[in-house]
Symmetry: C2
Subunit: 690 residues, 2 copies
């Protein structure tokens, strides 16, 4: 069904005002006229301002929002499962059992969770373009890095702990903006339900609907040891939203590729098919069998297995979309129209130049370089928490000795707080799991580069990958935050004096890794960015800002409505209810309801709406977004898209692309009737209005 | 490099006399003129006849040959590793330690190895086409099955134990032939070296060169309890062959797709990328981690892991070739030329009709049906030795009650001896491994069909896949050959009375499985075969039999010469030597030489040629083929192709496609100097001439 319709939708996406519901709009460029025309609602500046201040980014890839005046934050369980796991132990498994703090004093700090609130956007397109004008390759990349380091540092000022600034490229290089965020680093866990219900249906149901999952976590932001107080929050509406009613999703969609050139999409397709999908599938098999070795192994690997499986579904969905000849044909046609437009304007033609050809050349280089680059510089060959720490320490020692503007991007002053947070984190690392994963990863190094490659010989010597992994893991001290901080503070002298086998490994491969990175940045990313900037000029000339930019993990608003969709001609109803969950339960994971639900079944209204779908335009990163009505009340909590939403990375098809959310009323009901947490339900429905 | 050159080669393949070395020629259509012109050698009828009688097919997917007058048979270690494993136990690991029978009485029987010697070819094109004329869909398929059952039964006559007849479709339906084979079912193990040297370099070196592997097994064919005696065998030549010297490979290449239509190739590409490659990769990860659980687990899973890894390399290579835009473009161009030829001949045009369109329609159905068909009817969801036995028993009981011509192909009388051999086999089955693999496979059933599918509910009920797998494996008696034979002999009554959980599972899914098969055969395979037959008519009209047919696991001859090839402009030398193996050894698997080699290093001539490459045109199935000189002497043992040979499934590129073989002199040297088996070397070099 999809193949015949994608083409039509695509034209709309690229060349004309967006369809109803399509678009991940930046707050400074909302389609107010369209919204007014379609739903009789155009938000005021004050409304948008409040929305911005109540919306949160969960660093690492999710969204969230303030949902009370006392700093209560709502996001998805799957967005903070790392924290829940880190706060667990073999004897107190909070992933399995859930967690509820009945008093503020019982709210434990999540070691690695950081929340960002967007405070300011400023356009810096001119400054960025000026800095890189006339440059290419390595020079372009260095100038980009320098201007980025400078702009973000200026933006951040002296408030280095509580402020974070990102240079954001919108419209694939058409616009550069500085986003300044307030940074909440003290985030504590308030409530998570049991994994069995948060993740009910597990991987089989992921990206599916009908659905019955309570994928929620409540956190609380603290500053100076006290809960944050704010008037900018979204209160709950127990009734949710009705079909056809306007629904707004505020959040941080991570990454779409709707404006990529055909050459880029083909590279992505082939890389996914030949490398990413097989590699991740193999890792999944390894993790599945690791989990089978025992209950404790299963506990250790649950989170990363879930991550692998989620990513795999996305990859499969994307590859399916990119294997659809109609999609690529429509993109090709649109590209031809844009090229014709460029040819018709001599001035534009000079500015754009050979951008499409240069983009295609960059793809050829990307295909050649990616396998080895991703293995060594991307760190896939050393897939271990220990190695990631070691890489940060080795590289950080060298980079911090340089002026801010000359460093690799991730070591600019702006990014150091996050790096330090990770080094300080007491999150447990499981040696047996690291050994299994690293041994496998090292074997991939040999598989990709070949046994006769000099780096392979240098890394493995005469050791088998599994034996080397075991030796490294047995010998490392990097599980200790104190040791990591000692090396971080000690700089290059401490790093070079270290006998830690992971530090030594990271030092050993550093020259080759840096060479690969330099090559990649000069020949692929700089060439891509430069070409994309020039192509974006043409798009702006043609359609102006009537289009929305690709998602970039920055704050966006999507508008739509509660609405089912047809599957093979049959309508899928937009709501499920509690009764359906009890019917679907088999007693065996991932379809086992937790004991708490079974015990309280009699107290739940079985007709209570549980999950629902809307046609809002979202993508990975929107997980944890609140779904709001026009009054700014929470009607749901976004936690997924349907399977058709994955192709939304490349094009939005309103007829089948759907957002999946937990109903606000379901959350309130279970807090009261299953978890005896009426006090939290009261906090969520608190009388303070907007 | 490859992309720009494939097109040229391809034209040669399809439309003109083949390049030097290209072609897997049937013995009744050898390119004698070309051979004479290129190498001054055109084999006589007597020479070809002897070649045919000395060549063997190893049932299951390999080649082999008689190499002594006393029934000694040479093939690859990897072709009979199942047998070596079946003849091993935890306390006597013949895979790891190798095996040598110093007397005939010590030669143990391989439970499942069967050898076939081709005795006769007869053309039955007219009979087959007559039987299916005017039919389509299910009727076409049934008529095909009936004529196949009838022809093979007539061909086999009363010699049912020692004769096997296959109906072979050549030129993708352009020609049908009956191949009658002599069947050797009593095959015994004589010698295999240690896995460490048979498989030196393991998966990293698989499909690679330079190479240092002794991938050989010597077997002996018995009849009536005595070694077979024959004058038709290939004696060893210790000197091997020199560069440029004619080399002949006789054997059974399994399967090429050089004559497929573009629509078929695209289906294959997308199926590989979206389904086969990810599924196999996941299985590989599972098997790798299973092997890590302990030495015994590693032993259990070695063979199937090796099989998975080998298949994965093939899949990746094929996908790489099919992702090459130049390859598909060349195929498209050639298809257009063929279509133009058809249009220019009105009579042919009527005969071919809408064959290309019908083929494309069959592809659409194949894409829709394949995922569920492969899971249920293909048995992927029940990936277990127990289930395969159960399927044979359940289906065999129903099918054997039907007349021969009305049965599913694999239950025709002609195929029963092989089925019975598998049921009788005492090969061990490892319950823990079966549980792990089956639990995973059942989870794929749910993943593919969705948790709400009726069959999924029927199979799993409320059980988790892993729990169900454990229960089934714990409850089955099908590990016992006696129980399997009881059920086989008891027919449907015994099967239906069985309480074995695997029998019950196979019975439960049988209706859906048969429905899926019927659909597939009617809408996909019958439509494909019918269309291919019509397209083949056009090819014959255009090029006659100057082309060779796609490989079909039937006896072929390839001619070529010892020759290196260039990699990134640098020549790869065609030979390696013993010295190189000792240099390459690291002491860690898969680069560890066995103790026997280390102990005898001093006695080996380090400059002895070990492995080498030639430009013969081979494909999977040629493993175990002898490589011969013009005198019919063994100069090597084919065991692999280089990485470029994988794309040979679709097109042959003489400049880079290479066959990898063990040098005859290396085999003789190690028999004498490492394994103290001079008596075998003597048998191989026996004075009896051809």
């Amino acid at each position: 069904m999809k193949t015949t319709t994608v083409a039509m939708t695509l034209l709309a996406t690229l060349a004309a005002p967006a369809f109803a519901a399509e678009g991940m709009w930046t707050l400074d460029n909302l389609p107010l006229k369209q919204m007014q025309a379609q739903y009789g609602f155009a938000p005021s500046t004050a409304w948008v301002d409040k929305l911005r201040q109540a919306s949160l980014r969960v660093a690492g890839g999710c969204s969230g929002a303030f949902v009370s005046a006392n700093g209560l934050v709502m996001t998805n369980h799957h967005c903070v499962i790392d924290c829940v796991e880190q706060l667990s132990s073999a004897s107190d498994d909070r992933v399995a059992n859930g967690f509820l703090a009945r008093e503020r004093a019982q709210e434990p700090r999540c070691p690695e969770v950081e929340l960002n609130r967007l405070d300011q956007i400023s356009d810096v397109t001119a400054a960025v373009k000026k800095a890189t004008r006339g440059l290419s390759g390595e020079a372009y990349q260095k100038a980009q890095n320098a201007v980025q380091a400078q702009l973000t540092k200026e933006c951040r000022g002296s408030e280095t702990e509580r402020t974070r600034c990102d240079l954001v490229s919108l419209y694939q290089g058409g616009q550069y903006q500085l986003y300044r965020y307030h940074r909440y680093a003290d985030v504590r866990l308030v409530w998570v339900p049991e994994f069995a219900i948060a993740n009910f249906g597990g991987d089989p149901d992921n990206f599916m609907f009908p659905r019955y999952a309570l994928d929620i976590a409540l956190l609380r932001a603290y500053e100076d040891g006290k809960p944050v107080t704010t008037q900018n929050f979204f209160p709950f509406k127990a009734d949710g939203a009705e079909p056809g009613e306007l629904t707004l999703v505020t959040g941080h969609p991570g990454d779409t590729q709707r404006l990529l050139t055909v050459a880029q999409l083909e590279t992505l397709r082939d890389k996914t098919a030949l490398h990413t999908l097989p590699r991740l599938s193999e890792l999944r098999g390894l993790q599945l069998q690791y989990a089978r070795q025992g209950a404790e192994q299963a506990r250790q690997v649950t989170t990363e297995l879930e991550g692998t499986e989620n990513y795999l579904k996305v990859l499969r969905g994307e590859l399916l979309a990119l294997s659809d000849p109609a999609l690529l044909q429509a993109k090709r046609d649109e590209e031809r129209r844009l090229q014709a437009f460029i040819r018709s304007r001599p001035a534009l033609r000079r500015e754009v130049g050979d951008a499409f050809a240069a983009m295609a050349r960059a793809q050829t280089r990307a295909r050649d370089l990616a396998p080895v680059h991703d293995m060594v510089e991307g760190g896939r060959a050393f897939n271990s928490a220990y190695f990631r720490h070691a890489r940060t320490l080795v590289r950080g020692a060298a980079e911090r000795a340089l002026p801010n503007g000359e460093r690799l991007r991730e070591f600019a002053d702006n990014n150091l707080p996050q790096l330090e947070q990770a080094l300080e984190s007491p999150a447990p690392i499981y040696p047996a799991l690291e050994t299994a994963r690293l041994g496998w990863a090292l074997s991939k190094l040999r598989e990709t580069l070949g046994p006769d490659d000099e780096l392979v010989k240098q890394v493995l010597g005469t050791e088998a990958p599994e034996a080397m992994a075991a030796r490294l893991v047995a010998g490392t001290q990097l599980a200790e935050p104190a040791e990591r901080l000692r090396l971080w503070q000690g700089g290059m002298a401490a790093v070079q004096a270290s006998t830690d086998p992971f530090i030594q490994l990271a030092l050993r491969i550093e020259p080759r890794a840096r060479t690969l990175r330099g090559q990649w940045e000069a020949e692929v990313s700089a060439a891509e960015e430069k070409s994309a900037e020039r192509i974006a000029l043409a798009r702006f000339a043609r359609t102006g800002k009537s289009a929305y930019p690709d998602a970039t993990f920055t704050l966006r608003l999507s508008y739509g409505e509660v609405k089912g969709w047809p599957v093979r001609g049959q309508p899928v109803a937009p709501y499920t209810d509690f009764g359906g969950a009890f019917k679907r339960a088999t007693g065996a994971a991932p379809f086992a309801l937790p004991p708490s639900w079974l015990a309280r079944q009699g107290q739940l209204a079985l007709q209570q709406r549980f999950n629902f779908v809307s046609n809002n335009d979202i993508i990975g990163g929107n997980s944890g977004s609140p779904m709001l009505n026009a009054k700014g009340e929470v009607v749901g909590l976004v936690f997924d898209g349907n399977i058709d939403s994955i192709g939304g990375a490349f094009t939005f098809d309103e007829r089948v692309n759907r957002t999946v959310a937990v109903h606000s009323g379901a959350i309130l009901a279970v807090l009261r009737q299953v978890y005896d947490a009426g006090f939290l339900a009261d906090e969520l429905t608190g009388t303070r209005s907007k």
